[in-house]
Amino acid sequence: MELGESEREAIRGLFGGLERDVPVLLELGPEASSVSVLAGGRELDFGAETQSLLEQIASLSDRVTLTVSETDDPGPWPRTTIAERLVYQGLPWGYELSTLVYAIAEAGREATSLSDSSLAALAALERDISLEVFVTPT
C-alpha cells in the first residue's frame, strides 16, 4: 500500500509539530494464528505491508525513527510499538493507520491532548490497568 501525496502532505504537517524524537519499533515474525486476507486478488503479507507503511511514515519526519526486528518465534506479529509505550498488533490500515499517525504525533509533543479533568482523574489511579482495544479496519 502506498500513501497518496495528499496523505503524505497531511502527515508532514502533523509531524511538523513534533517536539521530541519518537522511536517506532516494528516486530515481525510468524503469526501464532495464521489468517489470510485477499486484496486485489493477492494474499496480503501483513508484516511486509506494515513495514512498507511505517517506512513511508517514518520518511516524513527526521524525528520519527523506525527500527525493524525479526524473530522466528510465533507471536502477535506484526507488532508496532511507539515511544516504547503504545502498542498496535496487526496491519494498521484504514482508520487505524490514521490513529497510529496521531499516536506518533501525540507521543512527540510535550503537552497532552487530554483535558485537565481527565488528567486529574488519571492521577488518582492507584492500580495499574492494561487496556486492549480491539478494532477492525474501516
Partner: protein, 66 residues
C-alpha cells in the same frame, strides 16, 4: 484507540494495546469480542463502542477499581 493511547502517555499506570480483531480472531474470541471497538481492561471485556473522553476515563477508572 487514540484515547487509550493518550491515557497511556499521560499515566504510567495505564498501558494500551490496539489489536486488529480480524487478524487476531483467537484473542478476540477469548474475550468475547463480537463488535468493535471493544475495550478489554485487565483481561475483562469492559465496554464496547466509541465514547466521549470523559466517559472513556470514567470507564477506565471503574474498570481499574474491579
Amino acid at each position: 484507540m487514540l484515547l487509550a493511547y493518550r491515557c497511556a502517555l499521560a499515566s504510567e499506570k495505564v498501558s494500551a494495546v490496539g489489536v486488529e480483531a480480524s487478524e487476531f480472531p483467537v484473542a478476540a474470541d477469548r474475550h468475547g469480542v463480537v463488535s468493535v471497538p471493544a475495550i478489554v481492561a485487565n483481561d475483562r471485556l469492559a465496554w464496547v463502542g466509541n465514547v466521549s473522553e470523559p466517559r472513556f476515563v470514567a470507564n477506565l477508572l471503574q474498570a481499574a477499581s474491579l
